[in-house]
């Protein structure tokens, strides 16, 4: 996936993942946006909060509901130099999850710190 970014402009993009996987398609289709942003050489950030933390839970096995397991894509992000993954501590805790439950390396941060990081972005897209 190679795209021309003729402008040379590099913006800070943040993809805010707030929704659980499989119940709706947002978690899957936002990954396409993430990958294309990287192909455009943008500074890509992904935040996982609220039910979005479930997107990177280990062990997705959607065969029984007739759907495709798209979680390997999260593991592939590193290959596209997408390594800025942030998970909100409070969201994990409310759901009884810990960093060990997640299938990719992330930076766990507090809600306040995540809010501050969000405020430094140039483009924020929630899915």
């Amino acid at each position: 996936m190679e795209e021309e970014n003729e402008s040379g402009v590099v913006k800070k993009f943040m993809y805010v993942n707030r929704k659980a996987p499989y119940g709706t398609i947002y978690a899957l289709e936002v990954l396409e946006m993430v990958l294309i942003s990287a192909a455009f050489d943008q500074d890509v950030h992904m935040a996982f909060l609220d039910d979005g933390v479930y997107e990177i839970k280990k062990g997705h096995t959607p065969k029984g509901v007739g759907m495709k397991n798209f979680s390997p894509t999260y593991r592939a992000l590193e290959g596209y130099d997408i390594e800025k993954l942030y998970v909100e501590k409070e969201s994990l805790e409310e759901r009884g999850l810990t960093e060990d439950d997640l299938l990719v390396p992330v930076e766990v941060m507090s809600r306040a710190d995540l809010a501050k990081l969000m405020s430094e972005m140039d483009v924020v897209l929630t899915a």
């Binding site: 119940g23 479930y54 062990g59 997705h60 979680s71």
Partner: protein, 102 residues
């Protein structure tokens, strides 16, 4: 003369489950499907409420939806029963009416 209530939304994001719990009557059953399966798990901020509800009503959770989301059936709250789609069909057949809390 009972109702099967279906709930399909996450308890952390929507009020559907709360609304359902406010309208269940004695003898009714509830099945948690799709994103509502997160309500069936121990260790969360809604666990206490669900464990309490499970003492009053039959509550089931759809196993294939738990598995899809990487959730261990061992983590399901005591008193909540894991069923497959066949079990969902049985619950619907055993009840007099099915009420989807959309």
């Amino acid at each position: 003369m009972s109702t099967l209530h279906t709930v399909n939304k996450s308890p952390f994001e929507r009020s559907n489950l709360d609304s359902c719990l406010g309208h269940v009557v004695a003898g009714d059953s509830i099945i948690l499907i799709e994103d509502a399966v997160y309500a069936a798990l121990s260790g969360t901020s809604v666990t206490a409420r669900m464990a309490d509800a499970a003492k009053q009503f039959r509550i089931c959770v759809l196993g294939p939806d738990l598995q899809a989301r990487g959730m261990d059936t061992g983590a399901v709250i005591d008193g909540i029963t894991v069923v497959d789609y066949g079990g969902f069909v049985d619950l619907a057949a055993e009840s007099r009416v099915v009420n989807a809390w959309l």
